[in-house]
């Protein structure tokens, strides 16, 4: 069975609509799960008082990553269009949005409270809490890998990236956007 790269099949309005839908729903879930995205590859659980905060986070992260990937794509292939990069970035964040579903789980929130109450001192959560944190760590890694895989396939189609040099530039762009987005969140 061959898995068709969706970015090779769909483009334009379809991907834009799907990307915007995913971002809005993902931001709503993040508000419900009290999650913040203070970096391109970050998800943190904290108190979210305003409903629009996760949406602003996602817009800033999407813009930052899209600009870095677009600049890299232009360097690789002069015909690369921003219109092909942005939907890829919007959709690539889906696994991160799914992580915020954990924030809607009462057991998970109790485990998080255990850590928060520790605040620098040794903490001793319940065994079920440790198991849950382990599960979240595994899911977090899986989500991070999924984000990179989606970005990789979308970027390959958007700018015809194929060689090792292209993938090194791609990795550099993602890491730079993570650093810059972190700085922006710190400054703003």
């Amino acid at each position: 069975m061959t898995i068709v790269n969706p970015f090779a099949r769909y483009s334009g309005n379809t991907l834009w609509a799907a990307g915007i839908f995913v971002t809005i729903v993902g931001s709503a879930i993040a508000y419900a799960g009290q999650a913040r995205y203070d970096g391109v590859l970050d998800v943190h659980f904290s108190e979210v008082t305003e409903f629009y905060r996760p949406l602003l986070d996602n817009m800033l992260n999407t813009g930052c990553l899209a600009l870095f990937l677009f600049a890299t794509g232009r360097y690789i292939n002069g015909k690369t269009r921003l219109a092909d990069i942005v939907p890829v970035v919007l959709l690539s964040r889906l696994p991160l949005y799914m992580l915020s579903l954990f924030g809607m789980n009462a057991t998970f929130n109790a485990a998080i409270q255990d850590i928060r109450s520790g605040d620098g001192i040794a903490f001793s959560p319940e065994l079920s809490g440790i198991g849950l944190l382990l599960l979240i760590a595994v899911c977090g890694m899986a989500a991070l890998i999924a984000v990179v895989v989606i970005l990789r396939y979308g970027f390959a189609v958007a700018c015809r990236a194929r060689t090792v040099k292209h993938w090194m530039l791609f990795a550099g762009a993602v890491l730079c956007s993570e650093l810059v987005s972190k700085l922006l969140f710190y400054v703003l």
Partner: protein, 96 residues
Amino acid sequence: MRYKLPVHCPSCETALQVSGLTCPQCHTVVSGNYDIPLFLRLTPEEQEFIMQFVQSSGSLKEMAAQLGNSYPTVRNRLDDIIDHIQHLQSAGHDHS
């Protein structure tokens, strides 16, 4: 069955030349050495793509809709063909 035009020597991979043409009506035979046109040296898939490109007035958007592929995929395919043509042209210059 549609037979594929061989463009490379099956023995040494050198680009083949046309040395004989026959009229199917009166069986007149023309002999000589003629280069195979560059278009015919492309793969059948590439030739088909170029035909579709011309028929859609050079609109990649229209082609993408017809082929059921995304716009950048079709544009990348065109870039691959351009690369192949440039490779064939430079190989041709090297031989001449």
